[in-house]
């Protein structure tokens, strides 16, 4: 492994109508982007459960992408809004787990944005590469216990300070 550049493995959940079609267009247009992404098709970005994201990380993904139609363009009216709300929640959750923010991304890509899609993949790969492989913090019980203790330690004086003020 030494010397060879780290190649992150990214799992992408793409909605059937916009982003999957956008990824198809990137192909039809012969745009080259890193082969690090494994695309899983869902009908709507609103289908992507937080559990899919956690599962992907647990299975060894170094990054997870959710991509759907632009707000207002959702094939199912507003599934992408739900995806966006969940993504905000996921970002906070993952941060608490100690997952670097570069490893998770929600991005809109329409059916004609092949170039944008290719760009998103490139950006993600470049952002994740310096981080190295994902460590699966929440998969190990001892890690979880340690994090919990740390979190409690962090929270206590702060909470005390606030009530005192």
């Amino acid at each position: 492994m030494s010397g060879a550049e780290f190649e992150p493995r990214i799992i992408g959940f793409l909605c059937n109508w916009c982003s999957y079609a956008g990824a198809d267009l990137a192909g039809v247009s012969r745009l080259k982007y890193p082969a690090n992404i494994r695309i899983i098709r869902v009908m709507c970005s609103g289908r992507v459960e937080p559990a899919f994201v956690l599962k992907a990380f647990a299975e060894g993904a170094d990054g997870v992408l959710i991509s759907g139609c632009h707000p207002g363009d959702c094939h199912y009216l507003e599934g992408n809004h739900k995806a966006a709300a969940r993504a905000r929640m996921m970002e906070r959750l993952l941060a608490q787990f100690g997952v670097e923010p570069q490893r998770f991304r929600l991005a809109w890509a329409s059916a004609n944005e092949g170039e944008k899609f290719a760009g998103i993949v490139k950006e993600m790969v470049e952002a994740i590469r310096p981080l190295g492989p994902f460590r699966r913090p929440f998969a190990r019980m001892d890690d979880l216990a340690r994090l919990e203790t740390e979190a409690r330690k962090d929270a206590e004086p702060a909470a005390g300070g606030e009530t005192g003020a």
């Binding site: 190649e7 493995r9 799992i11 059937n16 109508w17 916009c18 999957y20 079609a21 990824a23 198809d24 990137a26 192909g27 039809v28 012969r30 745009l31 080259k32 982007y33 890193p34 082969a35 494994r38 695309i39 899983i40 098709r41 869902v42 009908m43 709507c44 609103g46 289908r47 992507v48 459960e49 937080p50 559990a51 899919f52 599962k55 992907a56 299975e59 060894g60 993904a61 207002g72 363009d73 094939h75 199912y76 009216l77 507003e78 599934g79 739900k82 969940r86 329409s110 059916a111 004609n112 944005e113 290719a118």
Partner: protein, 649 residues
């Protein structure tokens, strides 16, 4: 349950896949995956012999799950499902791995491409083992089609559908149908009078028993899906009762308010109660409430007093009409770019700089000057410039070519020459005379003595006497020139209508980068959109000349009729369902459903999905805290397995 035997088929797609992905290696890898009974690679899986391979393995080797690794499922998933069904296997025991669009075409390195292809194949094999047989559902097809937009494309579509004996509604935003074509004087290259060929079709629309025409109306909401679109149309208050009005025109002649006419591009005035042009259909007026004195100052009432039929009704209000349609054809057209966005062209700054559509009105016998080419001061110009590509083929405005301007530039040059003599200059980048008889027309205009200067008109300036001049880099002479003229005509770009974004959102249409509506496939599905049952025709998809718009209108009618006449339409079995044992009745899912397909059962204290309304997006499933909801073909187990497999390679 019988043993699962997966057949995996890796397609070369000629050299499209095989040049980058080591197909044999992927095939060998697939053979090692659990559950795989047969793994093969073949030149073209979608071709008959490729399909036959699958059929034979199902029949002779007991294959009962199929994975094809080839192109995008958006292309050939239905093809392969049919193959399975043709030998009695459920079509949903199938999964595709997209190793062309998502692998071979986007990857430089063959090793990385091969590995990625293996990962996607592993994901598909893992997933297909968990597939369940699904039955296609059918819904009754509503027989009425909705056409949105009453320009030539929409008119043609409506007439064709009506001629087949089926019913159609035509909705037009303006008080009359006719669109941009109604404004044109002559049409290239044959020089037919535009109104003479258009108005008979407009009249046919009004006379057809199968067409319900709604003018001054807009589509504001679309619910449902193919076969059963519930459409809300807002009929704007016309202030004239169409049933009573006889179209006598007394109201218009007596109205005291004058407003620049949109139809004449502001070159003439119209009244506040008006029909946009003499051949309007319906030939009955509407009141422009923004300018009418009765509405602006609250008193006038002249038209109401004088109307012999008692048709003027100031109290009319906007009215929503809701109707169910089987299919929808969108033909909302284009608009000409406002050239004042580029001050270099002088539009709005100098007198006698006109847009091409304004010049059309000027040379039109029923236009503001009775067809005489006149400047603002009433004199006949001695020299006219026609500037091509104003805002087209220009990354600062529109990168694309507007397609029909070269030809109407030639046509206007011919008409100007014919009507006023004098000198006519065309400033062009290239002349794109692509259609039947177009090159011949160009030669004819050349012979008539029209000047052609190869160079984009860079600037329209005025000298001290107020005379115009066009600055141009003549690329044939290799130097800058200033060509003095009396009038400049701007072939301004054809662009998406200002409300294209709103229309696209209401109808669920995607747009391409240039803002025009996006077709389902650029070559083979030019009239379909990503939404089943919604078709596009004419310039709303991109600039087109009249013959192409007419052809698309007729084509879209054929698309709609092929659905309508089938009587029923297939809808996806991919829908959500509730496991009643698990549902806790928390109702989290109920407000999440954009189609209100989920209802709470008070008696059993659980939620239920209305299968007829559900479209299978799965948003509810992702939110269910008790795991009671699932969506067919995209179950958690299936996706989890796919994640496991693609992450493992």
């Amino acid at each position: 349950m019988p043993e699962i035997r997966v057949g995996v088929y890796i397609c070369h797609c000629g050299s499209n896949i095989a040049d980058k992905v080591k197909v044999a290696e992927v095939c060998d890898f697939a053979a090692t995956l659990p559950g795989v009974a047969v793994a093969r690679d073949y030149q073209y899986m979608c071709a008959d012999p490729g399909q036959e391979l699958i059929r034979r393995d199902i029949q002779e080797r007991g294959v009962n799950r199929v994975v094809v690794a080839s192109c995008s499922p958006r292309m050939h998933e239905p093809t392969f499902r049919k193959v399975l069904e043709s030998v009695g296997l459920n079509g949903y025991y199938f999964e595709m791995a997209n190793i062309r669009e998502h692998v071979s075409w986007v990857t430089e390195d063959p090793v990385a491409a091969t590995r990625k292809a293996k990962a996607l194949v592993a994901g598909a094999v893992g997933r297909v083992e968990l597939h369940e047989p699904l039955e296609e559902r059918y819904t009754v097809m509503n027989k009425t089609t909705l056409v949105v937009g009453g320009g030539i494309a929409g008119i043609e579509a409506a007439l064709k559908i009506a001629a087949s004996g089926n019913s159609v509604w035509l909705v037009e935003k303006e008080p009359s149908i006719g669109g941009n074509m109604a404004k044109l004087d002559k049409t290239f290259p044959t020089l037919d009078c535009s109104a003479c060929i258009l108005t008979p079709k407009m009249v046919s629309v009004a006379q057809s028993e199968n067409i319900k025409l709604l003018t001054y109306a807009e589509v504001v909401k679309v619910d449902g899906c193919v076969g059963n679109f519930q459409v809300t149309i807002k009929k704007k208050a016309r202030s004239v009762d169409l049933a009573k009005c006889t179209g006598c025109g007394i109201c218009t002649s007596k109205c005291v308010v004058k407003v620049p006419s949109e139809f004449d591009g502001g070159l003439a005035m119209r009244k506040a109660i008006y029909t946009p042009f003499p051949q309007a259909v319906p030939n009955k007026p509407a009141i422009d409430r923004e300018h009418c004195r009765q509405f602006v100052v609250g008193k006038c009432g002249v038209c109401q007093k004088l109307c012999p039929a008692g048709a003027v009704d100031y109290d009319q209000v906007d009215e929503d009409v809701t109707e169910t349609f089987g299919a929808i054809i969108v033909a909302t057209g284009y608009q000409q770019m406002d050239p004042s966005v580029g001050p270099q062209w002088g539009y709005g700054r100098h007198e006698n700089v006109l847009t091409a559509l304004q010049f059309e009105r000027l040379v039109n016998a029923s236009g503001p000057t009775g067809g005489k080419v006149k400047m603002k001061n009433g004199e006949t110009p001695k020299a006219i410039a026609i500037l091509h590509c104003v805002g087209s083929r220009d990354v600062n405005y529109h990168e694309s070519c507007s397609r029909f301007c070269c030809m109407y530039g030639l046509k206007l040059a011919h008409l100007a020459k014919e009507k006023m003599g004098g000198e006519v200059y065309n400033f062009y980048i290239d002349l794109r005379c692509f259609g039947k008889g177009y090159e011949e027309f160009y030669n004819r205009v050349l012979d008539e003595g029209v000047h052609f200067i190869r160079g984009k008109g860079a600037e329209v300036i005025t000298d001290r006497d107020g005379r115009l001049a066009v600055r141009v880099e003549d690329t044939l002479l290799g130097r800058w020139r200033e060509v003095p003229v009396d009038m400049a005509v701007l072939s301004a770009a054809a662009e998406p209508r200002a409300d294209a974004e709103r229309v696209a959102q209401v109808l669920g249409i995607q747009r391409s980068r240039d803002g025009f509506f996006l077709e389902a496939h650029p070559k083979l599905e030019p009239l379909k959109t990503a939404t089943d049952g919604v078709f596009i025709a004419g310039c709303c998809q991109g600039p087109k000349d009249i013959p192409d718009s007419v052809a698309q209108g007729a084509g879209a009618a054929a698309e709609a009729l092929s659905l309508v006449t089938a009587g029923k339409v297939k809808i996806s079995p991919v829908i959500a369902g509730v496991n009643e044992e698990r549902c806790s009745g928390c109702k989290v899912c109920v407000p999440l459903c954009p189609y209100t397909a989920i209802a709470y059962d008070e008696e059993k204290k659980i939620c239920r999905v209305n299968e007829a309304v559900c479209k299978g997006c799965g948003t509810c499933v992702a939110s269910c805290p008790s795991g009671a909801l699932s969506v067919k073909h995209f179950t958690n187990q299936q996706i989890f397995r796919q994640i496991e497999e693609v992450a493992a390679v």
